[in-house]
Assembly symmetry: C2
Homo-oligomer: 152 residues x 2
DNA sequence: ATCTGCCGGTCGACAGCGTCCACGGCGCCA
DNA sequence: TGGCGCCGTGGACGCTGTCGACCGGCAGAT
């Protein structure tokens, strides 16, 4: 992976629908060469996908929370992670150091639904309790740190 | 916004580079009609953008942390949020209920760099202290809750 | 009832793009 | 030196993006 790959990555993180021709013009290669490079970045797992980002409230997901997951003494983290992945409202899942084994971000339509989700989380085998931080607003999210990837 | 819009949104959240023709075949409209709808979803801010998702470690961002920001008694949340937004390593920023005013997710290359970032966070006017949760691994992230958006 | 305007659709033209492949240049190694 | 792998260009061809003309359905006004 060289500086040109990094430029391509940075550009696609900003605009995931950029055409190969656009990218080529940006990095000084032909569209075919860019296509080849992007294909390689995808097949090697550097680029894992392209996604539209949607304003959550516009699609009815008006409640966001960060939930710490505290395991039981005998809980198995792999199994807990698998169970967390089964819940569609769990958008992100981080294994963390500390009392909590995981912090998850959930998005649901209402506070009632959040309560139900918390119940579901607590019913996972190996989960002792949860610690909920209600998000009042999402100031920004998923912003790529392109300063490190393609400096300049 | 109707059920077809929701289908389009769901499909674009899965594959942000889907062609209008692909989407049209999925929802039973012509490419032009889909293009028109997508344009409207973009211009009304429902779809805020399209982004490549990149494996952080592949681009040198091997350290992730969730950092709670505890404000001083006189700290101004708007000013803190603006300062947080100035730091490229801060990928996400949530205003939260509780002791902390914000929780931010930071991604940096090394633990040394994390320490520097924490210093920068603590030096923001209005920030009393930070509480860091080191992420050991990102199990998954930014997964769209399409079950709510386009059930089916 | 009819008429009008709006909305959302199809269709087609045309420039541009995506995909694939042939080919060439360059660097490295035996 | 020659051979190989890598990475690039360029071209062919089907597909797509963009735009505009046109149409039909629906709601509201007369």
């Amino acid at each position: 992976m060289d500086a040109v790959d990094r430029q391509i990555i940075a550009a696609l993180r900003v605009n995931g629908r950029a055409t190969y021709a656009d990218l080529g013009r940006q990095v000084g290669l032909s569209a075919s060469a860019v296509h080849e490079r992007v294909g390689k970045l995808e097949s090697t797992g550097v680029i894992t996908g392209y996604h539209a980002v949607v304003e959550p409230t516009a699609v009815g997901l008006g409640v966001t929370a960060l939930v710490g997951i505290v395991p039981t003494d005998t809980g198995d983290n792999e199994e807990i992670a698998e169970a967390l992945a089964e819940l569609p409202e769990v958008e992100s899942c981080y294994a963390v150091a500390g009392d909590e084994a995981f912090v998850v971000k959930v998005r649901v339509p209402t506070v009632d639904e959040l309560e139900r989700t918390l119940g579901r989380l607590r019913r996972i085998d190996g989960v002792a309790r949860t610690r909920t931080t209600v998000v009042l607003s999402t100031r920004f999210e998923g912003r790529p740190n392109n300063a490190e990837v393609a400096p300049g």
